[in-house]
């Protein structure tokens, strides 16, 4: 029988090496996968991981795709550090798009320099409002935030569909389920003319730095980390668990909403039912791949965007199935989590079940009797 035994002091070097190990293992597994599919693995790999880096246009696309991933993941990471599991960023992203997009449509065709900031505020507020539901249910009734936030995603997606089929539908749009194209002042300025890269990426960079400061320099970020690592110590310090949960949901919901608005006011330019394409879920992988560290998330966001673009290229050029990208992203998360387990635990082969638990060797466990058998 194999058993996992916790390591006393996990290697710090290995904690930072695991994302790279995961990438390498994904490449190897991908190689095997393409060989089995009868495709040229070298060419597929090149198309996925290298080709996008060779043209300025696809580099710009890299920024377009990584913007929502980074924005969402940075927000999620703060929550994950605190043990607040907001899995519903996709829904908050969608509501952000609806709220921000509705502002543009409400003022249509008027606009001005004030419009985009107003849309951004509405987008973030929309995401926060959607995140407030699991936050409230968690702090008030101790409802599991994973389930609540996840299920609200589907509500949000259906709400978007309802709106673009009804009240927000383009009156001149031949009954297609989509809104008007936003007025020019409601579209994000481009970063590189002639491409789709927009200023949202700069905003994402700003939030990477802001999140770093939040986590490393501010007491409120410190409190979030304490709650995540040692809830009893947070109680001992007198931190408000409720306040921390709320702040984490507001940050992650707000950033997801902002990302949704950027997607709408950026590459898409209108509200369509296909605004939510899974960035909110992929961002969870990005957050963990980036070690829940803002700078790591910047890198992992770019890498994940690369698999999106490269996956599409490979689909077109080698007629690979469209699920290639998801398979790659899934493998990446799988290998990352597996490597993480082995960094924190070691695998031991045991001959038989040990019937009597060993007492702790060095630490001093509480001598208090408790419901579960003592260690």
């Amino acid at each position: 029988m194999l058993k996992l035994i916790p390591r006393k002091e996990p290697s710090q070097a290995m904690i930072y090496a695991t994302p790279f190990i995961a990438v390498v293992l994904t490449l190897i597994a991908g190689f095997a996968l393409f060989t089995i599919l009868g495709k040229d693995p070298v060419r597929a790999m090149w198309l996925i991981f290298m080709k996008p880096l060779t043209s300025s246009n696809s580099l710009a696309e890299l920024l377009v795709k990584s913007t929502p991933l980074i924005l969402i993941a940075v927000g999620l990471a703060i929550g994950f550090r605190a043990g607040v599991w907001n899995i519903g960023a996709e829904g908050q992203f969608t509501i952000g798009a609806i709220a921000g997009g509705s502002v543009a449509l409400a003022f249509y065709p008027d606009g001005g320099i004030w419009l985009l900031p107003l849309m951004s505020v509405a987008g973030a507020a929309g995401g926060m409002a959607w995140a407030a539901i699991p936050a409230f249910l968690k702090t008030r009734f101790n409802a599991n935030e994973i389930l609540v936030s996840l299920m609200l995603t589907y509500v949000a997606v259906l709400l978007l569909s309802l709106l673009v089929h009804g009240p927000l539908r383009d009156p001149d749009g031949l009954n297609f389920p989509e809104s008007r194209l936003f007025q020019n002042s409601g579209l994000l300025p481009l970063l590189i003319p002639g491409t789709r890269a927009h200023v949202g990426f700069v905003v994402a960079l700003f939030f990477v730095v802001a999140a770093y400061i939040y986590l490393e320099r501010l007491i409120i970020g410190f409190q979030a980390k304490v709650l995540g690592q040692a809830p009893r110590a947070a109680r001992f310090a007198g931190y408000s668990e409720r306040g921390i949960i709320w702040s984490c949901f507001m940050i992650s919901g707000g950033l997801a909403g902002l990302a949704g608005l950027f997607e709408t006011a950026g590459p898409v330019g209108q509200l369509v039912p296909s605004i939510p394409v899974g960035y909110g879920f992929t961002a969870i992988i990005v957050a963990f791949l980036g070690r829940l560290h803002p700078l790591g998330i910047l890198l992992s966001g770019l890498l994940m965007a690369l698999t999106y673009i490269g996956g599409e290229t490979a689909q077109i050029e080698m007629s690979l199935p469209s699920s290639t990208t998801s398979v790659f992203q899934g493998m990446l998360l799988f290998f990352l989590l597996a490597a993480d387990v082995l960094v924190n635990f070691r695998l031991v082969r045991t001959k038989a079940r040990v019937t009597v638990p060993a007492p702790e060797l060095t630490s001093a466990p509480s001598p208090t009797p408790s419901l579960k058998p003592a260690e």
Binding site: K8, E9, E216, R217, L218, I219, I220, F222, K225, V226, Q229, A230, R232, A233, R235, F236, A237, G238, K351, A352, V354, T355, V356, P357, A358, P359, E360, L361, T362, S363, A364, P365, S366, P367, T368, P369, S370, L371, P373, A374, E375
Partner: protein
């Protein structure tokens, strides 16, 4: 006592863990019918050694011989099959099951099937004076009674060697007496006992031979009856021991006052606090004695403010009602706390020492300004704590979990005391801490009291309380006895208070279960 024929021999037993040599070439012999003490400070390698004897771990090198035959248990059931039983310091019992069910669960199928188990439990317990009722729910039993279950469970397998790991830390003095009586009786029948402890007086009273470990090595063996406690202690720690002493003092104003505090426990088998009242004056150290699990945790939670008191007036600090204050607000009034659990409660294990100062010294020492962490002040404060308390650590960037128990406790104590508290409340301040660190901690507590603070110590270690407290009280079953000056108290008196109340509580619980 008949000794002589060796039952267990260890020759050059060695065990290393990454970075630590837990046992280095340890050799000793336990004779048949001998009560053999294994003595050493925390981290001296006692636990590792007995785990190897009991088959929980395997030695890297060396040989063991049991009853003349090579002995290399791969798992605890091998050890039991050979006739070695062990009573762990922390019990492995299910509170919602009966004594009988717990015992049956702990035996192998063959052992449990042998004859009428219930009758055998009653036989063994009457023979050795270990009164247990097989039908009782474990959740209603005191810690001392639970230990008896563990011992009975071992005795049912007719062991030739019984290993006891720190058995008296959970017992009242009277219960210790009963336990010793049982152990002596077992020994007279030929069962050898390996008795692990750092309580020197007990070892002198009970054991005929002692093996002393220090830093994983065997540093000597002796007949503890021929040694003084001080001599044994010095053998154990390797240097002369400088124990602090209490001075006479004039108590000042009342600083901490708790009146009629009742609080229901949040746990199913927890202890409710019943009308707890106490007063601690400036310059005074009030000790609260008691066997583990008698409301100490609940009292500590209520004092820290992790749980709010029903009325603000239930707890007064310098006359200000603070019963409704949270921990932060209480700290702002000048209270500091040292909870029992060092890792995960007093500190965040995966955070560095300087980050751990932010946990509760943040406001009092301006380690943060308007929500922004001042790394420099926090670093300076952490450095001062490490220096003043002589904490052995690689740097203030080391994680809390990388420190040994004693060093981490010194750090926590320093973090609290350097905030200059008016009231310090500490639970088990020297639990699992080596003698050197314990003496250092006692010294800072005495200094703090001398400087005018009121100190409240909750401890299971009566020696500790008699050394440093000015007054001592007993908590039992959530009820706090009125305190008395230390000079007027004896260990026996305290033990009777604990035991009497415990019996009463146990009976009430039993009645509640059957009602």
């Amino acid at each position: 006592m008949m000794t002589g024929v060796p039952i267990l021999e260890l020759e050059g037993v060695t065990k290393s863990f990454p970075g630590v040599l837990a046992n280095d070439n340890v050799s000793f012999t336990i004779g048949a019918g001998e009560i053999h003490a294994l003595l050493g400070e925390n981290g001296a390698g006692k636990s590792t050694l007995v785990k190897m004897i009991y088959g929980v771990m395997r030695p890297d090198g060396g040989r063991m011989t049991f009853q003349g035959k090579p002995y290399a248990p791969a798992k605890p059931s091998d050890a039991r099959a050979n006739g070695i039983g062990m009573v762990f310091q922390h019990f492995c019992l299910f509170e919602a099951l009966s004594v009988f069910e717990n015992i049956a669960l702990g035996l192998s199928a063959a052992e449990a099937a042998e004859g009428d188990l219930k009758q055998r439990i009653i036989d063994v317990s009457t023979t050795y004076g270990l009164k247990v009722d097989p039908e009782r729910l474990v959740g209603t039993l005191s810690v001392g009674e639970r230990q008896r279950i563990e011992i009975v469970r071992c005795l049912l397998t007719n062991p030739k060697l019984l290993i006891m790991d720190e058995p008296t830390s959970v017992l009242t003095p009277q219960e210790v007496g009963v336990l010793f009586h049982t152990l002596r009786r077992l020994a007279s029948e030929g069962c050898s006992i390996l008795y692990i402890s750092h309580k020197l007086e007990e070892i002198r009273a009970l054991c005929s031979k002692a093996t002393v470990l220090r830093g994983g090595r065997l540093v000597g063996s002796c007949d503890p009856r021929q040694e003084t406690a001080r001599g044994l202690a010095e053998m154990m720690i390797g240097t002369t021991l400088n124990t602090p002493t209490r001075e006479k003092f004039e108590p000042g104003d009342v600083r901490l006052k708790v009146q009629d505090l009742s609080l229901e426990s949040e746990e199913q088998f927890g202890v409710d606090l019943e009308n707890v009242s106490l007063v601690v004056r400036a310059g005074e150290i009030l000790g609260i004695a008691g066997v583990a699990g008698n409301g100490q945790i609940e009292l500590m939670e209520a004092l820290i403010g992790e749980r709010s008191a029903p009325l603000a007036e239930h707890i007064l600090m310098d006359g200000v009602p603070i019963g409704h204050h949270g921990p932060k607000a209480r700290r702002a009034c000048g209270m500091c706390f040292v909870p029992e659990e060092r890792l995960g409660h007093a500190t965040v294990p995966g955070m560095s020492l300087w980050e751990n100062t932010l946990l509760c010294a943040g406001t009092s020492n301006q380690l943060a300004n308007r929500g922004i962490i001042s790394m420099q002040t926090a670093n300076t404060f952490a450095t001062k704590v490490v220096k003043d308390l002589n904490v052995k650590t690689a740097s203030i960037r080391s994680h809390a979990r990388s420190l040994s128990g004693g060093n981490l406790q010194k750090f926590i104590m320093g973090r609290e005391i350097l905030q200059g508290p008016g009231v310090l409340i500490a639970s088990q301040p020297t639990w699992g801490v080596d003698a050197g660190a314990a003496a250092a901690i006692h010294r800072v507590l005495l200094d703090l009291a001398r400087a005018g603070a009121a100190v409240l110590i909750i401890s299971q270690d009566l020696d500790e309380l008699f050394t440093i407290s000015t007054r001592i009280s007993v908590i039992a079953g959530g009820y706090l006895f009125p305190s008395q000056p230390t000079e007027e108290l004896t260990v026996e008196a305290l033990g009777l208070a604990m035991g009497g109340r415990l019996k009463e509580v146990s009976e009430v619980k039993e009645a509640a279960v059957h009602a």
